[in-house]
Structures are given as C-alpha cells and as structure tokens.
C-alpha cells in the first residue's frame, strides 16, 4: 500500500545562540505506510525547513544516533513508524535529561565521560598472555556477556531513567551495563579497576530498580538486571573486604 496520508509533526526547536527558550514548530508531512519518524524528519529538512537539526546515520537501529522523544517516550526514530500515530499529531523532542545543542540534538559529553570511567574494553591479565594464539571461549562464556555487548550507546535508557533525571551524577544504565559486559567476560581481568565505580553512591547505588531502562532499550540489553547483579557484587565486596589482607581493601 503506497497511499499517501498527511500527519502533523510537532518538533521542539532550539538554537541556543539566538533563541531565549525552546519552542515547538509544526510541520504537515505527507507519509506512506513504510515511513519512519526519521524519514518524516528528513522530509521536513529536505522539503519544508532546512534548518531543522537532528542526528542520524544508519536508518536501521544499529548506529544509535537517532534517539529522540516521540510523544514523551524515548525511541529510535528510525524504527518508529508514522502510521502508528496517524491520525493524531506526533511531538518529537530531544532525549530527556540531556542539554540541547540544537533542536533535536543533545550534548552527550556527560555520558561519554561516564563511559570512559568504566574502562569499557578488555583488560587482560599480564600473566595470561596467549601470545598470537586465539583466546577461546565456550558458548556459555560468550552468553555471560553477549546480551550486554549489544548496547549501541543510543542513550534511550538515560532519557527513560528517572534517577538520572533527578541526579545527573548517577553513572547510569548504559555505562553500568557495559561495565558489567566487560566484568562478565572470561578474557577480562580488570574487575578491580571497575570496583570503585560500582561501589560509589553514584554507581549501582544510584539505581532504585525502576526498570524503565530495560523497557525502552531497542537492543534488549537489560541494564536494570546488570545493575542489580552488581548490587550483590558491591554488597559482597563491602562486607568481605574485612576478610581480605590489609592493603587490598
């Protein structure tokens, strides 16, 4: 079916250098059944208003660039379809809880610093160097982290997390899920370096298991589960450190 209908897309607009405050601008967009919200935005940019600014790249839920709020829900605009909202109008806003750079683009600086803080890469043990041999894993060992490795850093979970909204010092769902992804990997020996992040008030303890992060995740990463598993890890570390030799606490 290629029948063309019209939907009203209401976009949040904000140019920090010229606008005092964000405002909404409505566009009438013709669409067909297969058009995503992202394609609606691209139609606006190509045909109605070239100044509308938004991020996108792959159009297929892999790159994580096009996250935005559609009718107050964090979604990837490339896999959200206009037909599901018609005949109502839709409201498109930048991801909640982040500063706006311009229109629908947000400033990711805070997240990138947090991502860096969890050492999101394999830290192999110095005395376990396989040389040029492959480091094999069993299917079970792969399953331990594979789900958490699906994160595309789209930040929908941060927009959904009420705790991040209340306190931006919270390390947050994606960074903690990726922390767990490396801790759970049999090739990694960097747990000790990530313990400070887990144990902090802003680490796993900033989470109250609302679970919205896992609800909105387009890659089914389940950050809430990763965080709750690490609450147990942190609790064990809290009490068992007294049994460890001095200097290693």
């Amino acid at each position: 079916m290629t029948q063309t209908r019209t939907i009203i897309i209401e976009c949040l607009r904000f140019h920090p250098e010229t606008d005092e405050a964000p405002y909404y601008q409505s566009y009438e967009v013709p669409f067909t059944a297969e058009m995503s919200v992202l394609e609606g935005l691209q139609y606006i940019k190509d045909h109605l208003d070239g100044t509308l600014t938004f991020r996108w790249s792959c159009r297929m839920a892999i790159c994580g660039s096009c996250g935005c709020m559609v009718n107050n829900e964090p979604v990837l605009s490339c896999q959200t379809f206009l037909r599901d909202y018609h005949p109502s109008r839709i409201r498109v806003e930048p991801l909640a809880h982040f500063p706006i750079l311009r229109d629908l683009t947000i400033d990711q600086t805070d997240f990138l610093a947090k991502l860096e803080s969890v050492h999101p890469y394999l830290i192999p043990s110095a005395d376990d160097d396989p040389g040029d041999q492959p480091r094999n894993q069993t299917p079970d060992q792969i399953q331990d982290y594979l789900g958490y490795a699906q994160c595309i850093n789209c930040l929908l979970c941060y927009a959904a997390c009420p705790q991040y909204g209340l306190n931006e010092a919270f390390t947050g769902p994606a960074a903690l899920a990726l922390l767990h992804r490396y801790n759970a990997d049999s090739r990694d020996a960097g747990k000790a370096q990530r313990m400070d992040v887990i144990n902090a008030e802003e680490g796993v303890w900033g989470c109250t298991l609302v679970g919205e992060c896992s609800e909105v995740c387009p890659k089914h990463v389940d950050p809430a589960r990763a965080i709750n598993q690490n609450k147990i890890v942190s609790t064990q570390d809290y009490f068992l450190r007294f049994l460890k030799p001095r200097g290693r606490r």
Binding site: D196, N199, A200, E201, E202, G203, W205, T208, S234, T235
Partner: protein
Amino acid sequence: MKPRSHEPIFWSLFGGGGMLAALVGPILVLIVGLLVPMGMGFGPDAMGYEQMRALLGHPLVGFGLAILIALFFFHAAHRILHTLHDLGVHATPRLKQICYGSAVGGSALAVLVALVLVVRA
C-alpha cells in the same frame, strides 16, 4: 576515587525484609485469614490466647518473629526513603536518621517484647 557507599548495609536489610515478606506473607494470609477461620486443618482453638502465648514463649519462635519484624521495619524504612526521593524529597542525613532510626526503634521494641514473652514463658 569516589567514596564507597554504605548502601550495602541498608540494601541487605531491605532485601532480607523483602524476601521474607514475600515468603512468609502469603503463608500467614493463608493460615490466619483462610485456613484457621474456616477450620481447615486447624482446631477451633488454634489461634486462641493460650496457644499463641505458649508458641511465642518458645525462644526460636519469639526471637525469630522479632527478627522478622525488624527486617520488615528496615524494608519499609528503605522503601519510604527511596520513594520520597522519587517524589522530590531528597535523602538528607536528617531524613535518613528519621527513616532508619524508626526501623531501629521498632526493631528494638520487637526484640524487647520477644525477650519478655520468652523470659516469662
């Protein structure tokens, strides 16, 4: 390096209380709310004063119940503190003292009552 959170203490008590509430709660509702009133599997005096008094006088039951109640108190205190945070009332040291202090007070009272019941059994 960020300072370590002391949340594990309170989260453990919260988790313990929550788990026991989930385990014991439905059984208590079943026994006290359904089976005993309907006379199913229990005699007419099953919940009578003498029976209950004797049961609570046993150290394991008396103190076991006190510990259970204490964990429930800590579960509630933690839940209330975090719900208030969600509602915009953020956890100041004063608020923590009130929440967890109430739990400590309630727990002490539960242990005291258990002590009296067991000693005077």
